[in-house]
């Protein structure tokens, strides 16, 4: 059993989006990335909720950027993936892979 906890499904989604964006990952960018890749419209609040949780666990780190006018003078908070976050992603991947090994998810299983 590897050390550290497992990610929730949505946490995994957010972390993967974050990893894809590399630099310039902030709340709305992550949200848009998820929507673009998966077609799933998620609420901005959900994204921040997950990020807040994972920041507490040390999976991600954040820093405030500069305020810009198109944001009504509000600052962005940029996020980046930490090593422990990366490890957590890998653990989740392995877990899924292990579970799927030798499994054929063909709808034919139902005899239809």
């Amino acid at each position: 059993m590897p050390k550290g906890g497992f990610l929730g499904e949505f946490e995994q989604v957010v972390l993967l989006a974050l990893a894809r964006l590399r630099d310039g990952a902030y709340g709305m960018a992550i949200r848009e990335e998820i929507e673009a890749r998966t077609g799933r419209e998620v609420g901005i609040g959900s994204v921040y909720s997950a990020l807040d949780r994972m920041e507490r666990k040390g999976y991600v780190a954040s820093a405030l950027g500069d305020p810009t006018p198109e944001r009504g003078g509000r600052a962005k908070r940029y996020y980046q993936l930490e090593l422990s976050g990366l490890m957590a992603l890998r653990r989740s991947d392995e877990m899924i892979a292990n579970l799927q090994e030798g499994l054929d998810l063909d709808p034919g299983m139902f005899g239809r």
């Binding site: 921040y48 507490r56 810009t68």
Partner: protein, 891 residues
């Protein structure tokens, strides 16, 4: 440079933005607002404004729950807490209590205000609790059904049933596992000692089964024990068993002598049965019926209850009973027209519509009282807010966060509310006692209301909600003071104008609510005055009234009853201090005489609903003299009217006016009831009217029948005393016992007392409404006074300058008065509109006047205006006494 006007671009929906700002937690608020704004602009370019706005809304809605989730997480690591949360609470409490002690006047006034309001709310809730959430007398109440016989034409909602109807329901219905019947009874208990009048019920043998009740000791009635010829048995109520027999087991199996007949006690009913009127029962006997009521469908004196079969719904049973009722009405149109049997689930059918209206009205008005009290305390807190602005500023400057300050201030409010709730609980007990006293113990409901777990819970909730209602706004305002400004000398009064506007709105609301309460009270009082102003029609002073009910078993014979009452009249007449004596079936006006329909000789027979009706009272010849009811024409009864002579009657003027309008009624004949073999009764005289015992008629169409020809078993002795009527009661009792030592004598009251008792519940309720209105008026006056005083102190420098520049005192006074006057007038206008709506509820409670009675609707605002202006005048006068030089020097 000239800027070209640009087309206004759509912005994110303001409400959605406000919502997300409100819901999101501090560290992410700016990020989310910024992210959303940015994405919104991008989307507006790509998809257009509408789509972007829709998207924004979707985002806000989807983000609500996760944002709240973030808030529940403890704040991130940065600062470890210096105190445990509980410690902070205790610190707040200590500080709050200290600051309340430092301001005893504020503390006392706000606590008393709230305690009164919470007290009345608790009292009214305990009434609601007793009635609406009552512990019903039966077990498994969800499948128990209560039958009610309704007749819209006669205004009866909760009527009873005849014996043949009961049998029809029992035999024809399929919905019930059993239907039981009961009717009230009274007996003389003569097991040695003074004869005792006991109340109770006669019931079918299955009542305990239907209600799933058991016995404390012994057994219930066995099947067949309600049949004629069965050995006489009795059950005792739990209360009577404890009171009379100290709960001794040996009572079971012993003999009970009721009305001279021996009954074997077989058991004691479990105490659950003691509910509302049933609680007054002492003895339970098997149902027995006299011959007449066994066949007559007109004698409706049975109450019915049933137990649903498994799987049958309340609605099915209701429909079935209604259908059987319709069949009966078809079969017996003469006696059943207009009657409709309703089978309600026991849980639904306890209150009639009038009781529901009164309850609703009470709940509304006490709610208003609480709101007014909250507004008042909030007002006082707002006034304190400006006084405490420096304290708050210092604390904020020393590092107290706003949340911390609000919490501190709210804690004070909770302390006030907690204290008030404790006092209020005590007050509510006192109030209920007061109601019992005013209603002279004649209203079961007032006695049923007690402080139980539900009531305590209610008070607790009220004491938790009220501080938020009155404390939150002032707390937010107090803590929002600008630190720098507040600390600077001389600007301590800054920011007050806005505060004063809030206070003005609160006072306006108080005025509105007070006006509504006053209108309700005004309408009810006016209505009582209308009812009381009706001519009584007789002289009620110095009359003692005593009810005597002769047991059927001992006085089954007409002559025996005649003889007893004739002898009793003689003996009472012979008592020193007694001027004259009469007998009657009911106390005039104080009690309802039986309403009977009759047939006028020579007129074609009509349906029951259209038959003439009158209220009948059986009286002795002296009745009219004793009460001082003048004869209008013909004669009253004499000793010559006996069972041997033809049947006679005396009618009231109203009866003559209604049914013999254009002729002399004397010599005319009529026949009471629908029985065609009954003899015709001849009218021999017309007497003056007496006031109606009900509120819907002005005078009653009375029909008096002579006792000699109608020897009833239960009569009221009316003895006119030379001086103090009540002093006669002992002598009258002894006179009865000298004739029959086993005869119970109870219900001894003066006529004046009886007249009061008849209206006692109404008086108690009206006292409540009046008390609420007075309380509301005082609160509103205090509110106006407080706000105007504050306004004057705030405008002191302005007034000083005006006066220094030569403004006259009258002018200044008028300026202040018109400011306060505006509050009163605006509040009154809103209040009048509310009152007009509220008065619709009073439709069934108001008599003799319209619910939009102009006297009330003009008088109440006038009173309120005068009181309001008085409360306004004192500060206005003070304003003109300001010494301009003093004020301006300080500035």
């Amino acid at each position: 440079m000239i800027r070209l006007p640009r087309r206004r671009q759509a912005t994110p929906p303001a409400l959605a933005r406000l919502l997300i700002a409100f819901l999101s937690a501090g560290p992410y608020r700016d990020q989310q607002l910024g992210d959303l704004e940015e994405a919104f602009l991008a989307r507006r370019e790509a998809d257009g404004s509408d789509a972007a706005r829709r998207w924004y809304w979707r985002q806000v809605v989807k983000s609500a729950a996760p944002n709240l989730a973030i808030r529940t997480r403890p704040p991130r690591g940065a600062k470890p807490r210096s105190k445990q949360p509980m410690e902070t609470v205790f610190q707040d409490l200590r500080y709050g209590i200290r600051s309340l002690i430092k301001n005893p006047a504020f503390t006392a006034v706000s606590t008393v205000t709230l305690a009164l309001a919470i007290g009345v709310n608790t009292a009214i809730f305990s009434l609601v609790n007793a009635l609406v959430f009552a512990d019903l007398p039966m077990n498994e109440a969800e499948t128990a059904v209560i039958f009610r016989n309704a007749n819209a034409q006669l205004g009866i909602e909760r009527g009873s049933f005849s014996f043949p109807d009961f049998l029809d329901f029992r035999d024809q219905s399929q919905s019930f596992e059993g239907i039981a019947a009961w009717r009230g009874g009274q007996w003389a208990l003569t097991n040695g000692g003074e004869p005792l009048r006991v109340d109770g019920y006669r019931v079918t043998d299955n009542l305990l089964d239907v209600w799933r009740l058991g016995t404390v000791t012994g057994r219930g009635f066995l099947p067949g024990e309600d049949q004629p010829g069965a050995p006489p048995v009795a059950m005792l109520s739990h209360g009577f068993w404890i009171r009379q027999y100290a709960g001794r087991e040996e009572v079971v199996g012993s003999q009970l002598r009721l009305d001279g007949r021996e009954y074997t006690v077989v058991g004691v009913i479990s105490p659950e049965m003691e509910f509302a009127e049933l609680a007054e029962a002492e003895v339970w006997l098997p149902l027995d019926l006299d011959r007449a009521s066994e066949v007559s469908r007109e004698q409706r004196n049975l109450f019915l209850t049933g137990r649903l079969k498994e799987g049958v719904t309340g609605q099915q049973a209701y429909d079935e009973i209604l259908a059987i009722g319709a069949r009966l009405a078809e079969e017996y149109p003469a006696t059943h027209r207009g009657w409709e049997p309703h089978a309600f689930l026991a849980e639904d059918g306890l209150l009639d519509s009038e009781a529901k209206t009164i309850l609703l009205l009470l709940v509304l008005t006490v709610g208003f009282v609480l709101l007014i009290a909250c507004a008042n305390v909030a007002n006082m807190l707002l006034a304190r807010a400006s006084a405490r602005s420096r304290e708050m500023a210092v604390r904020a400057a020393l590092g107290a966060g706003r949340v911390r300050l609000v919490r501190q201030l709210l804690t004070e409010s909770f302390v006030i509310a907690g204290l008030s709730a404790a006092i209020g609980l005590g007050l509510s007990r006192g109030l209920m006692q007061g109601l019992v006293t005013i209603s002279n113990g004649r209203e079961v409901v007032f006695m049923m209301a007690e402080i139980d777990g539900n009531v305590l819970f209610f008070t607790l909730i009220v004491s938790l909600i009220t501080p938020l209602a009155f404390g939150l706004l002032p707390a937010l305002k107090t803590s929002a003071e600008d630190v720098g400004a507040a600390l600077k000398e001389g600007s301590a009064r800054s920011g007050g104008r806005k505060g004063n506007r809030t206070r003005g709105v609160l006072v306006g609301a108080q005025v509105s609510l007070a006006l509504m309460l006053m209108v309700v009270a005004g309408l009810l009082v006016r209505s009582v005055i209308q009812l009381e102003q009706r001519e009584l029609g007789f002289d009620a002073t110095n009359i003692l009234s005593v009810r005597i009910g002769l047991p059927e078993s001992k006085y089954g014979d007409d002559d025996a009853r005649r003889q007893f009452f004739e002898q009793l009249t003689e003996r009472v007449e012979g008592l020193p201090g007694v001027a004259s004596v009469a007998l009657a079936t009911v106390r005039p006006v104080a009690e309802n005489a039986a309403r009977r329909s009759f047939e006028i000789e020579g007129q074609p027979p009509v349906d029951e609903a259209d038959r003439p009706t009158g209220r009948t009272s059986v009286v002795t010849p002296e009745y009219f003299d004793v009460l001082g009811i003048p004869t209008v024409s013909g004669r009253t009864f004499t000793t010559n009217d006996t069972d041997a002579s033809f049947e006679v009657a005396v009618i009231a003027q109203e009866t003559a006016r209604r049914y013999w309008p254009d002729e002399d009624p004397i010599g005319r004949r009529f026949r009471i009831g629908v029985d065609e073999t009954a003899p015709w009764v001849q009218i021999v005289g017309v007497v003056a009217d007496t006031r109606s015992s009900t509120s819907d008629e002005r005078v009653q169409p009375m029909i008096y029948l002579p006792f000699a020809q109608n020897p009833l078993a239960t009569l009221v002795v009316l003895a006119r005393a030379q001086r103090d009527a009540l002093a006669l009661s002992g002598a009258v009792r002894n006179a009865v016992w000298s004739l029959d030592p086993d005869q119970p004598v109870d219900d001894v009251r003066t006529m004046e007392q009886a007249l009061y008792d008849a209206e006692a519940t109404g008086y108690a309720l009206i006292s409540l409404f009046v008390a609420f209105a007075v309380f509301a008026l005082c609160m509103a006056a205090v509110g106006i006074y407080g706000v105007m005083s504050y306004a004057v102190s705030q405008r002191a420098s302005e007034i000083s300058i005006r006066m220094a520049l030569g403004a006259r005192a009258g002018h200044v006074r008028l300026m202040i008065l018109s400011h306060g006057g505006k509050l009163v007038v605006l509040g009154a206008i809103v209040g009048l509109a509310g009152a007009a709506l509220l008065s619709r509820l009073l439709q069934s409670l108001v008599f003799g006047i319209s619910t939009l009675d102009p006297v009330t609707f003009l008088g109440v605002p006038a009173i309120l205006g005068i009181i309001g202006m008085l409360a306004n005048y004192v500060p206005a006068r003070r304003a003109t006494r300001i010494d301009p030089m003093k004020v301006l020097r300080v500035e």
